[in-house]
């Protein structure tokens, strides 16, 4: 039997979940024995192959049109989709802006900020992503199979979930593996 294939992508994130994955430290060698990392932020390949992968992981919330596309593509191309981290699971810290009008959020940074040049305007080029008025969790956009919360999730929770899946079981997080921050 070949290795289990895994792809991941990040939506509106800080990269802390990816760092927590690297925090498995030496176990990354073990991981590489059993899992073939395809498209991930720490490898060169980025798109999950059209032929699909066994495990898909999404971190981050869905905050703009580009991220919505990534989430939908990952869902289409993976058998099991994991929402990793508080932003993917609940929308996380990014949802703090849901209490504000998105235009006001943009104006604060690009027009009102004390350090910007007078007369500056919010970037609007079609070359860059468009913010949604509301930040959403991944499962408000596509179906999620497994949730690993935490900001970030502990490295041992990520490792536990992957090894349970490799053993053919659905991971059930308990005790200190199940954290919300």
């Amino acid at each position: 039997m070949g290795k289990v294939t895994l792809a991941s992508d990040w939506l509106d994130v800080c990269s802390g979940c990816e760092m927590s994955l690297l925090d498995i430290d030496e176990l990354i060698v073990e991981l590489a024995k059993h899992v073939q990392l395809l498209s991930t932020p720490i490898t060169d390949l980025k798109h999950p192959p059209e032929s699909g992968v066994d495990i898909g992981i999404l971190t981050g919330s869905v905050s703009n049109d580009h991220q919505e596309h990534v989430a939908k593509e990952m869902r289409q191309r993976c058998k099991i989709l994991i929402a990793l981290g508080d932003c993917a699971v609940t929308g996380g810290i990014n949802t703090m802006r849901n209490f504000c009008d998105v235009e006001k959020v943009l104006e604060r940074a690009y027009v009102e900020a004390e350090s910007v040049e007078p007369g500056s305007a919010v970037p609007r080029s079609p070359e860059i992503a468009k913010l949604f008025p509301q930040v959403r969790a991944v499962d408000q956009v596509v179906k999620v199979d497994i949730y690993i919360p935490g900001c970030p999730p502990p490295a041992k929770a990520i490792w536990f979930a992957i090894t349970e899946l490799l053993a053919g079981r659905t991971p059930v997080l308990t005790d200190d593996l199940l954290t919300y921050d």
Binding site: T43, H66, A109, P123
Partner: protein, 472 residues
């Protein structure tokens, strides 16, 4: 009419950073842009929070350098609260910061940049990553993992967590350092120094063997900005020194007064702003930050092994070192400094003191925090009402300072290496590497931690696809 090439991190319709290169009729590069796609709005949604929540909220800006935000925020909060932390608290915060520098610099060189140097710019993208490194050179890969782990463990031993800590507070830190943790940190110093020196040898050897490329690759004069302390490299607390392209001092100023010196330009095609030195104006006032800039502004390094390397660095050029690929070497010299400095801090008699918090809060209503994050100068600036609720927040994030430099590097490399009529994957790979020199912590601004797999489309002015190259 010319054409437009889009170099996409495969996520053109998905976000992240993206490069567009505009060609003239002859297929020569006319202009290029690095577009940054993510925007989250911390400046706005911090309003209405209590100021002392900020050191917990703002690390979420970046999971790669959460310590930098945590400490810049705590330093801003010290001033909002009108409290000066006791000396042991400053030592402990600086030790936390050294853990951050070690994990971030080590990860960048070994996990992200070294595959290019060890496996080659033109290596198969399927193996040109840290997993490929594990297969090709498992001994070195394991050392890389251990170095990163060492930095992360310093952070955990101090703050209880590796990422997104709740530890530094206005007036100091919440928990002192235990003696067994201090001893554990000290016990591995020599081993880590050895690993970094091995990295330095690899890096120097590569730079020497590839001088023609190094000199032709994003090599340009600029101003440089970095923190110093008595003229020495400083990453935690000190004035900011700005030098010009010849290395001549323009100004050394108190970073807390940044609004008098720094302004930000906004371009319509990127969410990342462009800081510059105000009195020189835009764009003459742009400058570079982070390892190469910090070594270019410093007179010396305060620790012996790093200072010995620094002398070699100074011998590279009469003035500032300009080629962008030298960022990798500078980063490892700083990595060495961080481990040596961690040892000094652990050997300080005050490091185990329990006098770590000043609780005599007298709200001032405003505070600025400045620190040298791994990727450059970072500012947090908060204003509060009389109850300590945040009324406004302004942030200038480290990688942003290099925004102009990254754009310029992309353009230089594109002009030197990209031929629109005979486009190859190798040309694009080098454009990608130009960005990687700056170790852009784009999660602070966007988020392209890893390599950027590419789709290049050549379109005519009407937007019709003429040719496509893929590497995904």
């Amino acid at each position: 009419m010319g054409q437009k090439i889009t170099i996409d991190n495969v996520t053109r319709i998905e976000g992240h950073a993206r490069v567009t290169i505009h060609l003239d009729d002859e297929g020569k590069v006319e202009r290029s842009y690095l577009h940054i796609d993510q925007f989250r709005g911390f400046e706005k949604f911090s309003e209405g929070r209590m100021y002392f929540e900020m050191p917990v909220i703002t690390p979420r800006i970046c999971g790669i350098c959460p310590v930098s935000h945590h400490l810049a925020s705590a330093k801003a909060c010290d001033r909002v609260a009108g409290v000066e932390p006791p000396r042991p608290a400053h030592l402990l915060r600086e030790l936390l910061h050294m853990g951050q520098i070690i994990q971030s610099h080590s990860m960048h060189f070994f996990h992200l940049a070294s595959p290019d140097l060890l496996l080659g710019f033109d290596a198969d993208p399927a193996i040109r990553n840290v997993v490929g490194l594990i297969e090709v050179n498992p001994t070195l890969a394991l050392k890389a993992v251990k170095l990163r782990k060492y930095g992360q463990e310093i952070i955990r031993r101090l703050s209880g967590r590796r990422i997104h800590m709740h530890w530094a507070v206005p007036g100091g830190v919440s928990v002192p350092l235990a003696v067994e943790d201090r001893d554990a940190i000290l016990s591995e110093v020599d081993e880590m120094i050895g690993y970094i020196q091995e990295g330095i040898q690899i890096c120097k050897g590569w730079l020497e063997q590839n001088q023609a490329l190094v000199q032709a690759f994003a090599n340009f004069p600029s101003n440089y900005l970095g923190m110093v302390k008595d003229g020495a490299l400083e990453l935690y607390e000190g004035p900011l020194r700005l030098v010009d392209k010849k290395g001549t001092l323009i100004n050394e100023f108190d970073g807390h007064d940044y609004l008098n010196y720094i302004a930000e330009h906004v371009e319509d095609w990127s969410y990342l702003k462009f800081p510059y030195y105000k009195s020189l104006g835009w764009p003459e006032g742009v400058y570079r930050v982070a390892p190469l800039a910090r070594l270019n502004v410093a007179d010396r390094i305060s620790t012996p092994l790093a200072n010995a390397e620094f002398q070699e660095w100074k011998a590279i050029s009469e003035g500032p070192v300009e080629p962008s690929l030298y960022y990798h070497y500078a980063r490892l010299i700083e990595d060495l400094y961080a481990v040596e400095r961690a040892r000094e801090l652990c050997e300080d008699p005050d490091i185990l003191s329990e006098d770590v918090l000043n609780t005599h809060v007298q709200l001032t209503g405003e505070g600025v925090g400045v620190i040298e994050a791994p990727r450059g100068v970072l500012w947090h600036h908060y204003w509060t009402d009389e109850d300590g609720l945040i009324t406004k927040a302004n942030l200038i994030v480290a990688t942003g300072n290099n925004n102009f430099a990254m754009n310029h590097s992309v353009e230089l490399v594109a002009k030197a290496f990209v031929d629109g009529k005979n486009l190859t994957e190798g040309m694009l790979n080098r454009v990608e590497a130009a960005i990687r020199c700056y170790d852009p912590c784009l999660s602070c601004s966007t988020h392209a931690l890893g390599e950027m797999p590419l789709i290049v489309e050549i379109r005519d002015p009407q937007g019709n696809l003429l040719r496509e190259f893929r590497r995904d």
